[in-house]
């Protein structure tokens, strides 16, 4: 009871203050009757300083060290603190300068020179220089004692890029051969040499900047810095007063005083917290749209639909000769069989029922969100069980008494796995199973633990069909590990010494060419061709990609919907409307 009253008192005080402000402004307005009302309205659109923006995260940050920890829950925080040389422009998907001011490259495309900004300071006031860049690449990302996935992106044909300092504000990257994804790769965080070098020397870097580090020790160049972290409850970030970016009129950014990230247990509680007014922005799942849309006006927020995401969900069959019976291998390696399955995926039902109407069908290996590299003119597989039946017939399968048999008389039957933690995948599997039943194919649909599934996929190979998802990005080269026949994520038949099929050989060539081609339009053609082959051969059968939905309170300005970075392309430009 006591606490309730005290809270009433607190809110009561606030109400009184607001009331006084209202009276005072009323007096002020009445006192100046000649003034037009417009300036007041306009004033609300001019960015002002101050205020706090409350977000949520489903999971605790695992570390504040972006070199080692790459989980979303960690990068969601570290993205505010650290910056790379380049960044993706969320509107155009081109690469744009960040800590680097500009760059140029030699005619053979092997030597790239980057000019750094001279007005960037670390949180502790030290100047950011070329030494930091050279240290970050040579002593962190390329350090064999530090386990970081960044190294894999920065390795070209097993060789590393040479990183050299030219002068205080110039660095040079020398590559064994032209490397088109370089600008993308250089988006990786630059770290402060003066703080981390002793730790690297003492070999303590791998546990440096863990979640128990005092917040003021974590030093970056980003628009915000950590002010407090309470485990399982929240992370509070405060404005970096020395941030290098300014707005059009030369005022320092960011506008906001602080960002609060509440740690919530799940999507349900995220939704409830937003509805209770405790958070200012959430990303919404399709199924929650129907819950939150009716409260849009009352809750004083706007829902933005920024279109398809990079997230994919797909079905694929085991084509690895080592682990499954020969006759099943013959079905799964048969292109017509896979095409028939693709025709039995009822994408419309998946979108309407599983994704609550807020998703897009996906046919290509890239989702439409990729924009520049996305190829819309490829073979598409509409839901058509008759077509599926005739394709199966062409492939030599026969339907007897409602059951499908192959030419040797084996009943067509396979086990379909997905990870049981993901409801959407389980539901999609349910729909696909029910359609394949109609074709006479018996599907044993078994949702299993994620780690069990990964072990099968990665080590034991004893699986027949799997539904999983991967999240892609703008840079198609990032899919190399999936699409190149030597990749360990070439899941239908991984780590091939030599491509088994001609189409896999062609995809291998395309990925090799794509990595070295610096001309944008030519690269686009290469990756378009890859998408055509993928859609014809169907090693993976895509289903749908969800729409990205965000709800943001109307009191904030600087909200710009983009397909790439949600509704906040640049956090430093967000401000509180007065």
């Amino acid at each position: 009871m006591l606490n309730l009253t005290s809270i009433f008192i607190i809110s009561g005080r606030l109400e009184t203050i607001k009331y006084f402000i209202f009276i005072i402004s009323l007096i002020f307005l009445l006192g100046c009757p000649k003034k037009e009302k417009i300036p007041v309205l306009k004033g609300s659109e001019t960015p002002t300083y101050g205020g706090s923006f409350v977000l949520d995260s489903i999971s605790d940050p695992k570390s504040f060290n972006p070199v080692i920890a790459k989980e979303t829950s960690t990068t969601m925080i570290t993205d505010f603190l650290f910056e790379g040389l380049t960044q993706i422009n969320p509107f155009t998907t081109d690469m744009e300068p960040r800590l680097a001011r500009s760059w140029e490259y030699s005619p053979d495309g092997k030597i790239w020179t980057f000019h750094l900004r001279e007005n960037v300071k670390w949180f502790d006031g030290r100047q950011f220089t070329a030494d930091d860049v050279v240290f970050t690449y040579n002593d962190l990302y390329y350090n064999p004692d530090i386990p970081t996935s960044a190294r894999d992106i920065l390795t070209i044909d097993g060789k590393r890029i040479k990183v050299e300092k030219v002068d205080t504000y110039t660095v040079r990257f020398i590559m064994p051969k032209p490397f088109a994804p370089l600008l993308f790769a250089l988006g990786m965080e630059i770290m402060p040499k003066h703080i981390l070098e002793p730790m690297v020397k003492a070999k303590t870097f791998n546990s440096a900047w863990g979640v128990n580090t005092p917040p003021d020790k974590i030093t970056g160049t980003g628009p915000f810095m950590i002010s407090e972290y309470i485990p399982s409850q929240r992370v509070v970030l405060k404005r970096n007063p020395n941030y290098w970016r300014t707005d059009k009129t030369g005022n320092g950014l960011p506008y906001l005083d602080s960002i609060v990230i509440l740690i919530v247990p799940d999507q349900n509680s995220s939704l409830l917290k937003f509805q209770a007014g405790e958070t200012d922005m959430i990303s919404i799942r399709g199924e929650d749209y129907a819950v939150i849309k009716p409260t849009e006006a009352k809750g004083n927020f706007t829902i933005y639909n920024t279109g398809p995401t990079f997230s994919t969900t797909f079905l694929f069959f085991n084509q690895n000769p080592k682990a499954i019976p020969q006759y099943k291998l013959r079905w799964f390696t048969n292109k017509k069989f896979r095409q028939a399955i693709a025709h039995s995926v009822d994408k419309e039902t998946i979108i309407n029922n599983v994704m609550a109407g807020l998703a897009f069908p996906q046919d290509s290996a890239l989702t439409p969100a990729s924009k520049f590299f996305y190829n819309p003119d490829i073979r598409k597989y509409e839901y058509n069980l008759d077509k599926a039946k005739s394709l199966l017939q062409e492939a030599g399968f026969k339907n007897k008494g409602g059951r499908l048999y192959d030419s040797e008389g084996h009943h067509v039957e396979f086990t379909l796995f997905t990870n049981s933690e993901n409801n959407q995948r389980v539901n999609i599997g349910n729909i696909i199973k029910s359609d394949l039943d109609k074709l006479g194919i018996k599907v044993n649909f078994v949702p299993i633990q994620f780690n069990t599934m990964v072990t099968k996929l990665d080590a034991t190979f004893d699986w027949e069909a799997i539904i999983i998802g991967l999240t892609g990005g703008v840079e198609p080269h990032n899919g190399r590990n999936v699409w190149h026949s030597s990749g360990q994520l070439h899941m239908w038949n991984p780590r091939q010494a030599k491509p088994v099929t001609t189409w896999e050989a062609e995809i291998d060539r395309l990925f090799e060419d794509g990595a070295t081609e610096l001309d944008k339009e030519k690269r686009k053609k290469i990756y378009h061709r890859w998408q055509e082959i993928a859609a014809e051969e169907l090693p993976v059968i895509y289903t749908v990609t969800p729409a990205a939905l965000y709800a943001v309170r109307n009191k904030f300005g600087g909200i710009k919907p983009t397909s790439l970075a949600g509704v906040i392309p640049y956090i430093e430009e967000v401000y509180l409307k007065k």
């Binding site: 006591l2 606490n3 005290s6 809270i7 607190i10 409350v54 999971s59 605790d60 695992k62 570390s63 080692i68 920890a69 790459k70 064999p144 386990p147 996935s149 190294r151 894999d152 992106i153 791998n206 546990s207 863990g210 979640v211 128990n212 407090e228 309470i230 485990p231 399982s232 409850q233 929240r234 609060v260 740690i263 919530v264 247990p265 799940d266 349900n268 509680s269 409830l272 917290k273 509805q275 209770a276 405790e278 633990q449 994620f450 780690n451 069990t452 990964v454 072990t455 996929l457 990665d458 999983i468 991967l470 990032n478 899919g479 190399r480 590990n481 999936v482 990749g487 360990q488 994520l489």
Partner: protein, 321 residues
Amino acid sequence: MIRYILHRFINMIPLLFGITFLSFGIMKLAPGDFLSQMALNPLISSETIELMRKQFGLDQPWPIQYLKWLWGIIHFDFGYSFTYRVPVATLITERVLNTLLLTSTAAILAWLLALPLGVYTALWRKSLFDQILSFFSFATISVPTFFLALLGVFFAAKTGWFPTGGAISINYAALSPFDKLCDRFHHLILPAMVLGIGGLGSLLRIVRTNFLEMMRQPFIMTAKAKGLHSNTVTWRHIFPNAINPLITLLGFEIAGLLSGAAFTEIIFAWPGLGRLILEAVMSQDLYLVMGSLFMGAILLILGNLLADILLATIDPRIKLR
């Protein structure tokens, strides 16, 4: 008695050894390890994963991993959490207090209500109050805790009377000491009630049943026949006998103090141990799980020991050897 306790403490060592060894082995039954999750990231090569596996010591056979862990425990080193890259001891101590606050509040709530109500309903069997309470306790037993917790959060969100989760408000640091206390209490009420109600139902039934049973015992009849005052009979003769099975339950209650609130903690975003452990179990964060398991096992053993000692002091017929 002292010899008995000493004996039990010495017994504890092989027991802990057995528990940890078995658990370690069972954990290794589950396929994959902490790094399996990374295998599905196209941007991480298998070489990097192997390097990390080596650094975490996960490339060695599990008995060796176990011995290394045991060696650490002897030196009060619980190892590092793979996920957080922070010593396990630091992580656990951060949250133990929060969990204890929640679970002990709930347990005290449940026991304080269950004992008098159980006795009352046993004395006034088949009264209206007894029937209402019976229905109430059956109803609470019949709803899974996680579902009750979910309804609680939903209730908080709809009415706005309680926060929808967490242990303190955003502006906690700016509050006065008194408001801080109020704020904590405000966050504690709902999860503690959900947890307490869940335990109250079954406890109430057991208290009532045991009491009823004792009331029918011949020695009670004799005592009544001798003309002893009914209050004396109730509190001197029935009560000490009726709580015999309850003492054993109390032992369980102590053992469950650390782990019993996992679902409630998860749903109410309570920053406790349960949520940490569950996440650790799901992601196979080996040493974090082992560390919390070790603490849980110690608490379980102590709880049982305490129950046995209490049993012996209350029930004179039981001899401890």
